[in-house]
């Protein structure tokens, strides 16, 4: 009792209550300040990095830089083969990782029996997202290049990056599906829909915003990947383009490009940066700026899409 008498109850004393509220608000402010500081330092670092690249590389921001092949003369060297290579590899990656990833995510959420097998798969998928990318490169070298004999080709590169992207697509698909309220699901079943109809008419349609975000973020990660592609033997200097995927003659599609050698933007950048001449470092800086712009653009599109879709679907 004596303890209680020494310390008057805060519930009764208005001054004490006010002091307490001020103290709580100071904590609020301190935490907000800390968060702000962390975010600002990260953002500023990125901006400085980007500006540095732009300032170094700005003389190369010409059409020629995008339409020239790499060259021994730094002034004439461009990133034509690199950006075409990156685009083609990403096309393969997209068409492999997206259908597989969505199908796997839908299966795991909607169809698989919950049990230890699904737990093991779940842990594995989450772990895959964190595996260093060079490991994927080694896997691809053994599997795609040697076992399947696909060669050091665009197809191999696309499949490798697809492996890298799959867990991201699977996880984002599952999370998007989980966000669908159980009431909506039950409503669909209650009118007599089958599981497949529920998946097709509801689950996929309401979760595609989240899925799309995952796909774009995965692609943005794939575009910057270097290590696994070096492992499978991407070329660092390439002065020709793969065969065009589209032809004038029927059937208008040509798949020869899948077997062609290639390089990609980050490898081109890596190649230039390892040259002793300063002129090539300018090229590297310009390429780096291009990669960052592409990544930021893709993430921006992802955020915008998610925002637009969220506005339409509110639970």
């Amino acid at each position: 009792m004596s303890v209680n008498q020494k310390k008057p109850s805060a519930l009764k004393d208005l001054d004490l209550i006010r002091t307490m509220i001020r103290q709580h608000k100071r904590n609020d402010l301190a935490f907000a300040g800390l968060g702000m500081f962390v975010i600002a330092s990260l953002t500023i670092t990125l901006i400085i990095l980007f500006l540095d690249l732009v300032l170094d590389g700005y003389p190369k921001f010409t059409l020629d830089f995008f339409s020239n092949f790499p060259s021994r003369k730094a002034a004439r060297a461009g990133i034509l083969s690199a950006w075409v290579g990156s685009s083609l590899v990403l096309i393969v990656t997209f068409f492999v990782a997206v259908p597989l990833g969505i199908a796997a995510g839908v299966y795991l959420e909607e169809y698989s029996k919950k049990g230890w097998i699904s737990d093991v798969i779940e842990i594995n998928v989450s772990n895959l997202a964190g595996v260093p990318s060079i490991i994927y490169g080694l896997l691809a070298l053994g599997l795609f290049v040697y076992s399947f004999g696909l060669g050091q080709s665009i197809l191999t590169a696309g499949l490798t990056l697809a492996l890298l992207m799959l867990p991201i697509v699977i996880v984002s698909t599952r999370e998007a599906i989980r966000a669908i309220p159980v009431q909506i699901r039950e409503a669909a079943y209650a009118v007599g829909a089958t599981k497949w109809q529920v998946v097709l008419n509801h689950v996929v349609q309401y979760s595609y915003g989240g899925i799309l975000t995952g796909v774009i973020i995965g692609m943005a990660r794939a575009i910057g990947e270097t290590a696994p592609l070096i492992t499978i033997g991407a070329l660092t200097f390439i002065a020709f383009l793969p065969p065009s995927p589209v032809t004038i003659d029927p059937p208008f599609l040509n798949l020869d490009w899948l077997n062609a050698g290639f390089t990609v933007l980050p490898i081109q950048m890596f190649n230039w940066i390892s040259r002793p001449q300063h002129a090539f470092h300018i090229n590297a800086a310009a390429t780096g700026a291009v990669i960052i712009i592409l990544t930021v653009l893709m993430n921006g599109v992802a955020i915008k899409l998610r925002y637009n879709i969220r506005k339409k679907i509110k639970w």
Binding site: E186, A187, A188, A190, V191, Q197, N201, Y206, K312
Partner: protein
């Protein structure tokens, strides 16, 4: 075909026989329930929270089948064809095609008003535009929502008010011409005016079909239902004419609950 009838010559549309239900964790939520649902009548289920009335309702369209491990024992017979809808050989999809449901919280799909009502028909393979138009209009009229939405059928269903959304869900359940409609506390998320609208609607609907409704609101049961069943702890305590239940219940427990001494 012999029709089962009660003393008032009312036809039994469905009845549960010795129905037991176990959730996946082993808890028995329903104990030996025998209850008829009469044709063109409203049967209300009342009782305190957790008494099993929603569990009982959701057995009628095999909603429990969506979650693994749940187990039924006993039968629910649907007349006149004497189908045991709990039979493992009877596909739950088939049951849901005959018995539709309206939920506690309005749960329209994030689609247009039209598509919400048309969905049950689309699931049944109907794709003829004229046919869909007609059926959707009919269902919306049946749910007394047509006049409010006829000029904006392509609007998102979320733009409707809560009461309108619930009537839209009724229209969705009605469009497929079910034999029985299940209502799981359909007005508990609605304001009093929307509640009155839904109640009037149900009295209209029973001319066409049979209704089983779970309600927390005893006045609601007294206002709209023809029969009332009082459940407690997974058991059916008493089932009778609504008038009888509310004026002169046979069991002491029912009286205590209705007069507010308990529950």
């Amino acid at each position: 075909m012999v029709m089962l009838k009660n003393k008032h010559n009312e036809i039994v549309k469905a009845e549960s026989r010795n129905l037991n239900f176990f959730y996946a964790d082993g808890t028995q939520a329903l104990k030996n329930i025998n209850l008829p649902v009469y044709e063109n009548k409203i049967t209300a289920l009342i009782g305190p929270s957790g008494c099993g009335k929603s569990t009982f309702l959701r057995s009628f369209n095999r909603m429990h089948d969506l979650y693994p491990g749940n187990k039924y024992e006993g039968e629910i017979i649907l007349h006149p064809d004497n189908t045991n809808i709990l039979d493992k050989k009877v596909d739950p999809i088939e049951v849901r095609m005959r018995i539709s449901m309206v939920f506690q919280k309005p749960n329209p799909f994030p689609k247009s008003i039209f598509e919400n009502v048309a969905y049950g028909l689309r699931v049944r393979g109907e794709s003829n535009k004229r046919m869909l138009d007609d059926k959707v209009e009919e269902a919306l009229k049946g749910a007394s929502l047509w006049n409010e939405v006829k000029d904006r059928l392509e609007d998102l269903a979320f733009n409707l008010s809560g009461g309108q959304q619930q009537r839209l869900c009724i229209a969705r359940a009605l469009a497929t011409e079910p034999e029985i409609m299940l209502f799981d506390e359909p007005t508990s998320a609605l304001d009093p005016i929307a509640t009155v609208n839904i109640e009037e609607l149900m009295s209209e609907l029973k001319k066409k079909l049979s209704i089983l409704i779970v309600t927390h609101n005893m006045q609601q049961a007294a206002r709209i239902s023809d029969y009332t069943a009082y459940m407690y702890l997974g058991q059916l305590v008493e089932h009778d004419d609504t008038n009888k239940i509310f004026t002169n219940p046979t069991k002491k427990e029912t009286e205590d609950y209705i007069t507010g001494k308990f529950g």
